[in-house]
Symmetry: C2
């Protein structure tokens, strides 16, 4: 048995919703850490965080913070990543970035280990972690594409507020409480903190995630479309998305319609495939009311798939329902999983 | 000016979620009522209900209850309609039935006045009111079909719990309160009261509305598919549906993908059309974050449409978001509207 190498790991955005899940995941996975550096914006610096029973004081992220860091996990917003990820790389770290800053950069691999782990070889210091709603979709679609080919995907999402951060979760609970107690409230965070208007999320559904582009799609929808094509190496794949925010704290759900290339595929073929697919748990037994739900997926790393059935008009068309914890496989776990892949492949110095 | 004729109206299921909205709607519309008879199951009989400031005692619905009734509005479950609607017709009443009992019966018109009011002429005593999620969809699709043709529709729904009745709404609020106060609870009603298992709806999404059929679709999904084809007189239309229950009290939302027949149609053409369509309110200005939401539609009779945009791959494909109060246009208002149409056309004796 060889000695297990350990690494100096930095977590940027350690106090955020995803950062907290990253620390929990690093702990649970017993990730080989020699030194742990916790970094944040000036606003959150100075806070104490417990990791493996030990207290760490979160420090303000600066270029010098990355001296001697081997692996830096970024999840503190696109602006922080754009400024500091290159500084970390310059100092010899490999960056796994959970923001959208580098996702569509052609020199940056965008990686979901179950789908395109080998893209890690082409990294230039930064690996981008895809958007949460994209990750769970491609984990479910990749085995189908590999075996039956894939022509077209139309997805409608049912997304949890934790995708908008810890403040949005607080807003959901506070609004809910106010409505139940018949008190007034003023929406301040959702759908998008930096956008002009804010709307009630409790007992509501908001068809806006991220801001709108000129083509009538939101950035979230375009992320799902563009990132899916990049991760799956299918620039010609037809992908359409409608992204909707729900009064759910954690767990994204997706209603997917897709068409395969191969003729004669049955729902049973797809179920058999997904039963053994990496990162996928099949929960598909309608007669016994077995199907995935966000309330059941919280705290789990897997992508849950069910309600697989044939379209009644298109011979090669199918429908399915995909659920995952947006903070884990959608963010923290996929980032840590990328770091584990990098170590396994030998890409961390 | 001619004297306005008034009618003996019976409401069956007067104490239920939809029945209560029917009474409210009859009151608001100042429906021409000479006598009002309120009926229910034996369980709810004896309850007092206020209509236009006057107290009515709800009576047990029996065949004899329909003597001298001109118009009977049924919303007390399919079993009650199957048993008593023919009895009401036998006694000379015209029945508007809000249950699924006669919807697919070939001798019963299934009517949404904005779409197929003329089908009322072919009635045999009973007119069926469609499923709530179907109604709002066809109101939005009919003008598009009439002007540009329609080939295909794929819908994913975001449905409110009041579609499952008043008990389901209570369950949503009680569970929500329990979760916020960190107390235990036991799901008893949703997703389907009479099905084997019950699941948490608060802060969750359940991909089951009504029971499952052998083909993997729920009855709700098949209702949307079959009723749409019947109402629009388009047996060959391709329709697919995935129906999902949300922690929203009232207001169904739908994410629609559709393909038109005509080439060269733009989102602006569709918006211009829906701007003037009967029963439709266009709320579509993404740059100012204007789009329909369930929280905004409650208590309104209209169907709200927004987020109309071109599919990025299919030249004739579009996406849109359709929201309506499931208890009003989805049930009570459409039923009363059918009754108003019957009077207008002269079909009530």
């Amino acid at each position: 048995m060889t000695e297990r190498k350990a690494f100096h790991v930095a977590v940027v955005g350690a106090t955020g919703a995803v950062g907290q899940q990253m620390l929990k995941t690093l702990e649970e996975r017993n990730f080989p850490i020699s030194t742990l550096t916790l970094l944040s914006s000036p606003r959150s610096a100075g806070k104490a965080v417990i990791f493996k029973g030990q207290e760490y004081i979160v420090q303000e992220a600066k270029p010098e913070s990355f001296e001697n860091v081997d692996i830096a996990l970024f999840s503190a917003g696109g602006g922080v990543s754009k400024e500091l990820a290159p500084e970390a790389v310059k100092r010899g770290a490999i960056v796994v970035d959970n923001t959208s800053a580098f996702r569509m950069d052609e020199n940056t691999p965008l990686v979901v280990p179950e789908v395109n782990e080998t893209d890690l070889h082409h990294h230039n210091g930064i690996i981008a972690n895809p958007n949460c709603s994209t990750i769970q979709m491609v984990v479910a679609l990749q085995p189908i594409f590999e075996t039956f080919g894939l022509k077209k995907v139309i997805v409608s999402t049912y997304q949890a507020v934790s995708g908008s951060g810890a403040q949005a979760v607080e807003e959901l609970y506070e609004q809910t409480k106010a409505i139940i107690e018949n008190e007034d409230f003023e929406p301040k965070i959702l759908p998008v903190k930096s956008d002009k208007k804010h709307y009630q999320i409790a007992f509501n559904a908001i068809p806006q995630i991220d801001k709108f582009m000129d083509n009538g799609y939101t950035f979230e929808e375009m992320k799902m479309i563009n990132e899916t094509k990049k991760i799956m190496h299918l620039p010609e794949l037809k992908v359409a998305a409608t992204c909707v925010r729900l009064p759910v704290a954690t767990g994204h759900s997706e209603s997917l319609y897709f068409e395969v290339e191969k003729a004669g595929v049955t729902p049973e073929d797809i179920k058999a495939l997904l039963q053994d697919a990496p990162g996928v748990v099949l929960q598909d037994d309608p007669q016994n009311q077995i199907y995935p739900m966000p309330a059941d997926c919280v705290g789990k790393n897997d992508v849950f798939v069910g309600r697989i059935r044939r379209d009644l008009d298109e011979e090669n068309g199918f429908h399915m329902w995909v659920v995952s914890d947006n903070l884990l496989k959608g963010a923290a776990w996929n980032s840590v999983q990328i770091a584990e892949s990098l170590i396994k492949i030998g890409l961390v110095k």
